[in-house]
Amino acid sequence: MSDQENQIPRTVPIQSATFSSPVNAEIRRAAATGIYDIRGGGAKRKVPHFDDLLFLGASVSRYPLEGYRERCDTSVTLGTRYAKTPIELDIPITIAGMSFGALSAQAKEALGRGASAAGTSTTTGDGGMTPEERRHSTKLVYQYLPSRYGMNPDDLRKADAIEVVVGQGAKPGGGGMLLGQKISDRVAEMRTLPKGIDQRSACRHPDWTGPDDLEIKILELREITGWRVPIYIKVGATRPYYDTALAGKAGADVVVLDGMQGGTAATQDVFIEHVGLPTLACIRPAVRALQDLGLHREVQLVVSGGIRSGADVAKALALGADAVSIGTAAMIALGDNDPKWEAEYRKLGTTAGAYDDWHEGQDPAGITTQDPMLAARLDPVEGGRRLRNYLKVMTLEAQTIARACGHNHLHNLEPEDLCALTMESAAMAQVPLAGTDWYPGKPGGGY
């Protein structure tokens, strides 16, 4: 070959945007195994989120409150509509439902300790209530799920609230999974299932369908518990206006709305990434549904899915939520995906921050496992302290923002305190694009 031929410019290798490296890797993995990818966590794709909103802060037209001196309350009461004993929380940040089975007993205890120390509630999950979490949770919400694993009236009567789970943001329309590696003797007994099976929970309730039945189911639960505790309805965000309206009509005290960034212990990746709505997109329709029924603030709205900081809390509340709920962030506070376990993450073929094979039960941090050796790595007392600190910081952050906007309670935050950085977030949050008084779809606002 001559020197002249060597100098002919060649086309550089170009990777396909459609068939990217991760896409191709997944095709090869599917071809090798014949099974879809299962993982934990919520949507990893980038979607419009609270980061796309900004607070406007005080100005000539509004005055701020003194950051360290003037009062800014954070309390919230959930279940004021019908319950004799509503749940009174010191902060508007609750811990979302996560099951014993998906999490170790130590992790559940740590969540209870941290939430209790911060003055808030924690929630059971698919698999029933453990004595450990009841003992360490001053306020415990008992989930009533389609599978009814571990459901019994004694635990129902011990609960401070009941959450009827219709769906969750990671998999609206799907049931839970708990694979055989995590079905220990205790988990199997609590769920009345054979040890070691790949357990796939039911996706719909066995004894009711539709909002009219739901109303009767709520009546039954209230009769069993003497109308004492609040009834929550949890839905995965898909049709937030109608789901919220129907839950309110059915008699819910509280509606919990979970966006697609909300995590799960295990489900199909295709489900997590391709079904549901971003959290940001579902708050305003849900608030509007409650307002249309005259139920806003009478039926409380709890929003979850990708809440990470006090800024996220403040933004959710400004859009009309009464409280938020955290799951993934609480696990990270306990130690999930901590870089100190990097060497072990590498052995599992992943890296800190990306580990999501929670269903395999090999969690180096000892949180999403039933392996006694791994679970012992999490000290429930230390985990509880870390969670309490994290909740405290989130609350302080939210207060900082609220005071800067001139509010003496987090619930006084309002959409007028916000602007949006992108057209998409402006449309979803229905707050003006930064520097304008316009958002897509604004009534009388042009195209």
Partner: protein, 225 residues
């Protein structure tokens, strides 16, 4: 014997009175008049009290029962004895869908027919149906015994776990992973006991047994990595 008229007393008053009964209370029988299809009658009972309901009920009669005996002299709506833990619920008439759903224990004795999804997701309850049952019965049933003296509808035992199903009449079709199994002597003893407790005149030898093939218990992976 206390009598409670639902047409004048209201549901809350009835359940409140029944919840006030404890194991230490003398075991008085309660009679409920004029149920008129009301929902959630005698739910969440937690003591060995006898309750007789004089007429038809709506949804969830006897729901989450523990220890009590609830006898309905009529037909019942959906979800009778749902999630029952122990005790007995007797239905003189027919039962609508989801009878005995997710029940953990006790005996549900239906003297008429049961509609679709009878015993759905059952977790240890014993259900005896003197007549027929509808489609998708024992769907995802985990534990316990379902005894059907008549016929079973389509997709019996769909995605079944470890519950045992006994049918005396015909079975229109079996659901995924449900197969017919041998009736062994221990099953005849079990049937004899359940039929006797339910007052059913059928003979154990007349029943066929169905259970899980257990092929759906784990994912089918070609090359686990």
């Amino acid at each position: 014997m206390p009598t409670y008229d639902l047409s004048t007393g209201g549901l809350r008053g009835l359940n409140e009175a029944l919840h006030a009964v404890s194991g230490a209370t003398p075991n008085e029988g309660w009679t409920v008049l004029n149920p008129m299809g009301s929902h959630a009658i005698a739910v969440g009972l937690d003591a060995p009290v006898q309750v007789t309901v004089k007429g038809p009920t709506g949804y969830y009669c006897g729901g989450m029962n523990k220890l009590a005996t609830v006898h309905v002299e009529g037909s019942v709506g959906p979800g009778v004895a749902e999630n029952m833990m122990s005790g007995t619920v007797i239905v003189d008439g027919d039962a609508s869908q989801y009878a005995g759903a997710t029940g953990h224990g006790g005996l549900l004795n239906i003297k008429g027919n049961a509609s679709s999804r009878c015993g759905i997701s059952m977790k240890g309850i014993d259900i005896v149906v003197h007549g027929n049952i509808g489609h998708m019965s024992a769907f995802m049933a985990q534990a316990g015994n379902l005894v059907v003296c008549g016929d079973a509808g389509e997709a019996l035992g769909e995605s079944l776990y470890e519950a045992r199903l006994f049918v005396r009449g015909s079975v229109k079709s079996l659901g995924a992973d449900c197969v017919e199994k041998e009736v062994r002597p221990e099953h005849l003893d079990l049937l004899a006991d359940l039929l006797d407790r339910a007052g059913a005149k059928a003979k154990p030898e007349e029943f066929r047994r169905f259970g899980s093939a257990r092929t759906l218990y784990n994912f089918d992976i070609d090359n686990a990595y």
